[in-house]
């Protein structure tokens, strides 16, 4: 199956019956598989980086299978030997199935079982009493194990811990939770080896450091042979690429043809609305009635499972999907990945392309379909990055304190702990290696009594210090309640979409679920596309969205909401470099080249480290458009801060709009004579940022997540089944009270850190302001430039933004009342 070129002289030949099993199938073990066996024999931690289709999972399990096959018979029933953690439930179950094949064919006496949230009660109980040799599970299940009284004994025989798709877990709160559980396992079973299985990444050392109990050098790096480089094409549409927009509607006939020409295609998009739109468009063109399905996070789990099952059976020709299918079980039939609209990052793209063709020696095929001209630049940049095997850069991870709070409560539920010993244990987790004693104590105090400066809750403490000096959960009920709320995934409250029936509009058949707020832009009576059909919104009740079918009607296009993933810094750099280098324009199609030339003639093409800023009048307003290329999040934050300053400068800013490349602000008075160096000075990240953040809905959202993860608020309650909707309101009230009375509270710190990192991209904004200092190129124009069209056309499509908007809405509504009263 594979040549021996990559194979070093194997120091450990494959033992029987493994050698025979490989031979019987006409396989030869790959170099990285043998190397992983060798690491196992040496008792070393290892990170295996290999492309999809490289026999990576088997390489992870081989050392354990060999060890288990060779173990001498024992008197006592052994505990778990190998624990396998996957980010997806479905993947754990799939790997269990794949593992059973070699075990059965070699006749090994090894028991491998999965355990997920979906596993039945009987099987879970049996697994506790009679543990399998290999247990396959998820980070959340492992956290539950860690909060169980029997955890220490249950895991004392553990020899090996395998983390699959580690690149997708480590830089997240789920990763923090997993790292903490790993640190605990290391105390229960000090000899346990850790194995990470990863796709190709920019900097493996970051993952080695995360995986290791003691810094990156304790983890050996093993690399699989690279697969054939992917064949990536950028669609040069016969219809010209539009100047603006996100739908790629112009290219749909060509996308349909590409699907027709493929065995099975995955069509990735960046938002759920885009998914619905593309699905609708493709079915309109689907004269051959090709089985094309839809898969995104707002569809019900049941619907998604159906699509996945049909895919597994090879019944589908295409699935239009969002990041919900970035990871997942292998579908051998997929031979084409289509990326509709911009790729946003090189690493994610490689991951997506890897979903096509799981054979190492054949190239994966991908087609990028840019929706506008900036995206054409982005697609070309991504294509070149992939060809050079260059990836997005990541930053080291610092563990979140809300996750730590959850873990500490879990530890107390499991067994009494000593404060100093627990601090030492936690610092064995990569992301918490630098956890200070002060922060640790603050988190323990938070777990016990909420961490308030006003000390009135001591008698209600959740964990208490006993006379033996050890900390334990105060009551059995606290333990029960903790276990109901384990996990670091906080999903938005979901509403059921149901067909409204009868005159009284009673909820009927369920067609899916939507996140609360998903349909906020719509009014009763509006039509919209959902789950591939057109519906009319009839009303919203506490739990349900009521709709009636509206086939064939023109659906109102809700806001695109932009992509969840901002343009990566790495890709943005490449786009800027490509744009500023006319020699590079030759790689671009004629109409895009022409667009750049007009921009050069009418305005300015900035250098790679410069920021272009244009001012021009339009209609009754004056516009300022700048092009930082730092992604929509950072731009929105910048626009908020600029608006505050422009307000103070007296130019009367009226509104702004942002996309991944640019932002536009418009005002009553001209802005062309402002001091732009001062306007973009880095000091805007001080008080202005602090003041704006405190009020921003993003902070409230981040606070809610932290409150749920840390256990301040319960997702699920033993007493009553309070829905997530009700919780959502009261966390806003808690946030307000806390901000007024204890603004340095632990959870406010957590929320600020989360918002700054993920929601408003402060770090990136800081880098931008430093980069453009003294490098702002101002173009004073009479009218809008070719570049500005993309962002100007967004006006009216985005919601009224942020601060002060609440009061504006109320004022507008009050005006409506006056109109109502006069009429």
């Amino acid at each position: 199956m594979v040549s021996a070129i990559w194979m070093p002289e194997p120091t450990t030949p494959l033992p029987e019956p493994f050698a025979g099993w490989f031979a019987a199938r006409g396989w030869e073990p790959r170099a990285h598989q043998l190397e992983m066996i060798e690491k196992g024999r040496q008792g070393r931690h290892a990170l295996l980086i290999a492309p999809t289709g490289g026999g990576k999972t088997l390489a992870g399990f081989l050392p354990s299978l060999i060890d288990l096959a060779e173990r001498p018979p024992r008197n006592a029933a052994p505990g778990i030997h190998t624990l396998y953690i996957s980010p997806l439930k479905a993947l754990a179950v799939d790997v269990e199935r794949n593992l059973m094949t070699p075990i059965a064919q070699m006749g090994l006496a090894i028991k491998a079982e999965s355990r997920t949230g979906d596993t039945g009660v009987a099987r879970r109980q049996r697994q506790r009493v009679k543990p399998p040799d290999i247990l396959l599970t998820t980070p959340e299940q492992l956290a539950l194990f860690c909060a169980w009284e029997g955890a220490r004994r249950y895991f004392e025989d553990l020899k090996c811990l395998i983390i699959d798709e580690i690149h997708a877990i480590w830089p997240s709160k789920r990763g923090d939770l997993l790292a903490l559980a790993m640190a605990r396992l290391a105390v229960f079973a000090p000899d346990c080896r850790r194995i990470g299985l990863s796709a190709t990444v920019d900097d493996p050392d970051l993952i080695r450091d995360w995986l290791s109990p003691a810094g990156k050098d304790a983890v050996d790096l093993v690399r699989g042979a690279p697969g054939a480089p992917p064949l990536v094409e950028v669609l040069l549409s016969e219809d010209r690429v539009p100047w603006a927009g996100h739908t790629a509607q112009h290219a749909m006939p060509e996308v349909y043809e590409a699907i027709r020409g493929a065995r099975t295609a995955l069509v990735f998009v960046n938002t759920r609305f885009q998914a619905e739109f593309a699905f609708q468009e493709l079915w309109r063109l689907n004269e051959d009635s090709l089985p094309i399905a839809l898969h995104h996070g707002s569809l019900s789990a049941e619907q998604r499972r159906k699509v996945e099952a049909a895919m597994t059976r090879g019944e589908l020709r295409a699935v239009v999907c969002t990041s919900t299918l970035d990871l997942g079980v292998d579908w051998g039939d997929v031979d084409l990945v289509i990326q509709l609209a911009s790729p946003k990052g090189a690493s994610r793209m490689v991951q997506r392309i890897g979903r096509a063709n799981h054979r190492l020696d054949e190239a994966s095929r991908a087609l990028f379909v840019p929706a506008n001209r900036f995206e054409m630049l982005e697609c070309q940049a991504a294509r070149e990055a992939i060809a050079e095997n260059a990836f997005d850069t990541e930053l080291p991870r610092t563990g979140a304190l809300d996750v730590l709070a959850q873990h500490i409560m879990g530890c107390a539920c499991s067994e009494p702990f000593d404060l100093v010993a627990l601090h030492d244990e936690i610092r064995g987790a990569g992301p918490y290696r630098n956890l200070t004693w002060e922060d640790f104590e603050a988190v323990v105090d938070f777990v016990a009594t909420g961490g308030y400066a006003l000390r009135v809750y001591d008698r209600f403490a959740r964990i208490v210090r006993g006379q033996d000096g050890l900390w334990r959960a105060r009551t059995a009920e606290m333990i029960l309640r903790h276990r109901l709320n384990v996990g670091a995934i906080v999903s938005a409250a979901m509403l059921s979409v149901r067909i409204s029936s009868g005159k009284r509009a009673t909820p009927g058949r369920k067609i899916g679920e939507v996140e609360e707020g998903y349909l906020e832009v719509l009014d009763v009576g509006d039509t919209f596309i959902f789950a591939g059909s057109t519906w009319r919104l009839m009303g919203v009740t506490q739990m349900d969205v009521l709709v009636t079918p509206a086939p064939g009607e023109e659906a109102k296009m809700p806001s695109w909401g932009g992509s969840k993933f901002p343009l990566s810094t790495f890709l943005a750099q490449r786009v800027r470099a490509m744009m500023s280098d006319p020699d590079h324009w030759r790689a671009l199609p004629g109409d895009v080249r022409e667009w750049l030339e007009i921009q050069r003639d009418r305005s300015i093409i900035p250098g790679p480290d410069e920021m272009l800023l244009e001012t021009f009048p339009r209609g009754q307003r004056h516009f300022l458009v700048c092009y930082p290329f730092e992604g929509r999040l950072a731009h929105t934050t910048l626009a908020m801060l600029l608006t505050r300053r422009l307000e103070r400068a007296g130019v009367g800013p009226v509104g702004f709009v942002c996309n991944d490349y640019a932002l536009a602000v418009w005002s009553m008075k001209t802005m062309e004579d402002l001091d732009f160096a001062a306007l973009f000075d880095e000091d805007m990240l001080g008080d202005d940022l602090e003041a704006w953040m405190a009020e921003s809905p993003m902070m409230k959202g981040a606070f809610k997540t932290c409150a749920l993860i840390s256990g301040l608020i319960e997702k699920r309650n033993t007493r009553d089944n309070k829905s997530a909707r009700q919780v959502s309101f009261s966390t806003d009230l808690i946030f307000d009270v806390l901000r007024r009375h204890q603004s340095d509270h632990l959870l406010l710190r957590c929320a600020r850190a989360d918002a700054a990192q993920g929601l408003i991209d402060v770090a990136r904004l800081g880098v931008l302001l430093a980069r453009i200092r003294g490098r702002i190129r101002h173009a004073r124009l009479d009218h809008l430039s070719p570049f500005s069209v993309s962002v100007i056309l967004e006006i009216g499509r985005q919601k009224a933004p942020g601060e002060g908007a609440g009061e504006m809405i109320l004022l507008d509504a009050a005006d409506t009342l006056i109109a109502e009263a006069i009429a």
Binding site: R725, A800, E807, L810, A813
Partner: protein
């Protein structure tokens, strides 16, 4: 009285708040969520839910212990600004029967200060059915003020002049392609329901059937904004 006529009578009050006529009495909806009856110098607040934080803490959810102080500070601000002769608590002043016993010394003190020189009337609610034990003022089930009848829980059937709390009205207001959710007063011109005054008291959307049972169709929402109350018509309201 038609809805349109009733809305014509809505004006901004010179001392702040939205003045409207409820049967024959003029009342002012304050941005704080309190109700001011200017002709009689009476201030009314509903559903303070004092000690809600410590109630949850006693059951293992450590909500901030600052809600009582926060609520009383806002109340003290209104009292200092308007100098009422009577201060009426419209029920559910405490989140639970033991709430009073958990009050911090400083909070008791600020209540005593507010009671100085005026009458405090504690209308009982479902969370605090017996009124306070050691605090100044007297307990009552209802209170008649001219044509108005003050009670905690609104009674089914139209009773002109009823002023109640209990339901914690909130409005989701939509404009400019976005929406905000705020506490509000809600009235049909005959009955008025006050928003909850408590810092940690949640809210119920006034489009809920709990309100349509009590109010005539398309009532007016007086929505609390920053230092200002906005009169919002039914057409601008949305479900949650």
């Amino acid at each position: 009285m038609t809805a349109a006529m009733q809305f014509d009578a809505v004006t901004q009050h010179p001392r702040g708040g939205l003045a409207l006529d409820l049967v024959s009495e003029t009342v002012v909806c304050r941005a704080s969520g309190a109700l001011w009856i200017p002709a009689r110098h009476i201030l009314v607040v509903a559903d303070m839910h004092l000690e809600k934080g410590s109630f949850y803490a006693s059951r293992g959810q450590m909500l901030p212990p600052y809600d009582t102080a926060d609520t009383l500070r806002r109340l003290a601000g209104e009292v200092a600004g308007l100098e009422p002769d009577q201060l009426v608590f419209l029920g559910d002043s405490f989140h639970d029967r033991d709430g009073e016993a958990r009050l911090a010394g400083g909070d008791i003190e600020s209540l005593r200060l507010m009671a100085r020189g005026r009458r405090l009337i504690w209308i009982t609610g479902n969370h605090d059915p017996s009124g306070p034990c050691g605090l100044p003022g007297e307990a009552a089930k209802t209170l008649a003020i001219g044509a108005l009848r003050l009670v905690h829980e609104p009674v089914d059937g139209a009773i002109p002049g009823e002023v109640a709390g209990h339901l914690h009205p909130c409005a989701r207001v939509k404009a400019r392609g976005a929406s905000v959710r705020r506490r509000c007063f809600v009235t049909d011109g005959e009955r008025l329901i006050l928003p909850a005054f408590g810092a940690l008291a949640g809210g119920l959307n006034i489009r809920d059937t709990a309100f349509s049972r009590l109010l005539r169709p398309r009532p007016l929402a007086a929505v609390l904004g920053a230092g200002r109350v906005h009169a919002v018509g039914w057409a601008s309201l949305r479900d949650d």
